[in-house]
């Protein structure tokens, strides 16, 4: 029910509407809750509304955190 997907803003239609690209599908969503959204931002879309912005720098940091895991054949660092 709370499912939401990250989608890229491709155009601003009016003050409260944007067109987003969702894996190749383009559709209008409301940006009334995220008025700061701009073209090329990623927004999180839930029931036709952008409810938040995605922070690319934080996403990269989280992915880097996963990648810091020791590889399966490497010995685990002593802790």
């Amino acid at each position: 029910m709370c499912l939401a997907l990250p989608a890229r803003v491709v155009a601003l239609v009016d003050a409260e509407t944007a067109t987003v690209d969702l894996g190749g599908v383009r559709k209008p969503v409301s940006i009334a809750l995220v008025p700061e959204a701009r073209v090329d931002d990623y927004v999180i879309v839930h029931v036709g509304h952008a409810i938040g912005l995605l922070d690319p720098a934080e996403a990269a940091r989280t992915l880097a955190l996963f990648a810091q895991m020791p590889a399966p054949d490497a010995p685990a660092s002593p802790s």
Binding site: C2, L33, P70
Partner: protein, 381 residues
């Protein structure tokens, strides 16, 4: 898709699993509750349960708004459509929720009720504008993620003077439900399992922020790690919880920092508080009455409140006697402990709340987990 596929990488998942196994203290049991149905679904769908060491037990919480919607609320909606001639619009997830007298919205529709599935609250308002001679009621359900769009649509209906539109508000709140699980009177009846930490909501937290959990972590001394709904997010959150438990910490940590800030979405919060206020009590299916756990429409928007407009009174309806949802939602029992599970209660014909939505503990176990059980027990005779 970008920001999804990277968070489903199988090789990284294996490495995270090894890290978790390496950091778990031998002989210690870690009991973590994932509040959200989205996390329950991810745990089952991606087989995360099988990647975790035996010392970690995940307890599936009540964070599925479809599952916790009580029978009495669906009865109200069906009554509006069947007896009062209203056009009822709602999210598709609600259509199969069992109501009284063997009915559901789907079955009421088959009896001639005008019930429409909508993708967005805005679609419900559009139905009202396209059918000015009909009373159009939007059955609004969901947690803090889904509430702001409902607030926007009520505000717009007021601004545009749409006279035939109203909302049956069943929006519920996450933090009060988490608290209730830890301290409700029913804990005595059901017994309780100690919970060592919580995997905190993903999209709910985009709206409310990480802040509301701080008081909770402090007062109840329980670690909370807010996590995204992708499998690597969930595993990383479990690793962070294990570390907090090992170090004796009880803090709010944010694994989902790419979307969640401390303060949340202030524009969404402002829209919600303009239109809604706290309800003194609301019945949750499986949990019973939970104080200050839901929202109702403010008096200033009374014209759009279906409860006031149609003079609706709420009548609670008990669940099936054999249903163990109340105990399952608290982690005291598992789906297979319920004698209705996979006998009379299935996703096609759910009896209890946990079987209703794919995010419910029983439905997730029915779809994915029971095959693991079957393999452990050997071939059926």
């Amino acid at each position: 898709m970008r920001y999804i596929d990277e968070f489903r990488d199988g090789a990284l998942a294996q490495r995270l699993a090894e890290r978790i196994a390496a950091e778990v203290r031998p002989g210690r049991t870690y009991r973590f509750m994932e509040f959200c149905g989205g996390h329950t679904h991810a745990l089952s769908r991606y087989g995360i349960a099988e990647l975790l060491p035996p010392g970690i037990r995940m307890i599936h919480g009540p964070g599925c708004p479809v599952c916790v919607l009580p029978i009495g609320r669906i009865d109200q909606a069906i009554g509006l459509a069947l007896e009062r001639g209203a056009l009822l619009a709602t999210y598709g997830d609600v259509m199969r929720v069992p109501a009284s007298g063997g009915l559901s919205l789907m079955r009421a529709k088959a009896r001639g009720a005008d019930i429409r599935m909508v993708y967005s609250a805005a679609d419900a308002l559009a139905l009202a504008q396209a059918n000015p001679s009909r009373e159009v009621v939007f059955l609004a359900i969901g947690f803090e993620t889904t509430t702001p769009p409902t607030a926007l649509v009520i505000r717009r209906a007021a601004r545009e003077g749409v006279a035939n539109f109203s909302v049956l508000c069943c929006h519920v709140l996450t933090p009060s439900a988490i608290t209730h699980i830890l301290e409700s009177a029913e804990v005595r009846a059901y017994g309780t399992v100690p919970i060592d930490g919580f995997v905190g909501p993903a999209h709910v937290s985009i709206v409310i922020g990480a802040g509301p959990y701080e008081h909770f972590a402090e007062e109840y001394r329980k670690p909370v790690v807010i996590a995204g709904f992708e499998p690597l997010d969930v595993m990383q959150a479990i690793l962070m919880l294990v570390r907090q438990v090992n170090e004796g910490r009880a803090q709010v940590e944010n694994e989902f920092a790419r979307a969640v800030t401390r303060d949340g979405n202030l524009a969404a919060q402002a829209a919600v508080s303009e239109v809604f206020e706290l309800r003194p009590a609301f019945e949750w299916r499986g949990l019973g009455e939970v104080p200050y756990s839901a929202l109702r429409i403010r008096r200033a928007f009374a014209a759009f409140d279906a409860e006031r407009r149609f003079g609706l009174a709420y009548a609670p309806v008990p669940d099936h006697k054999g249903c163990e949802c109340g105990a399952i939602l608290r982690g005291v029992k598992t789906p297979v402990d319920c004698r209705l599970f996979d006998t009379v209660c299935t996703p096609e014909s759910p009896m209890g709340s946990c079987m209703v939505s794919t995010e419910g503990a029983c439905a997730a176990h029915y779809s994915y987990g029971r095959f693991r059980d079957a393999r452990l027990q050997g071939p059926a005779t």
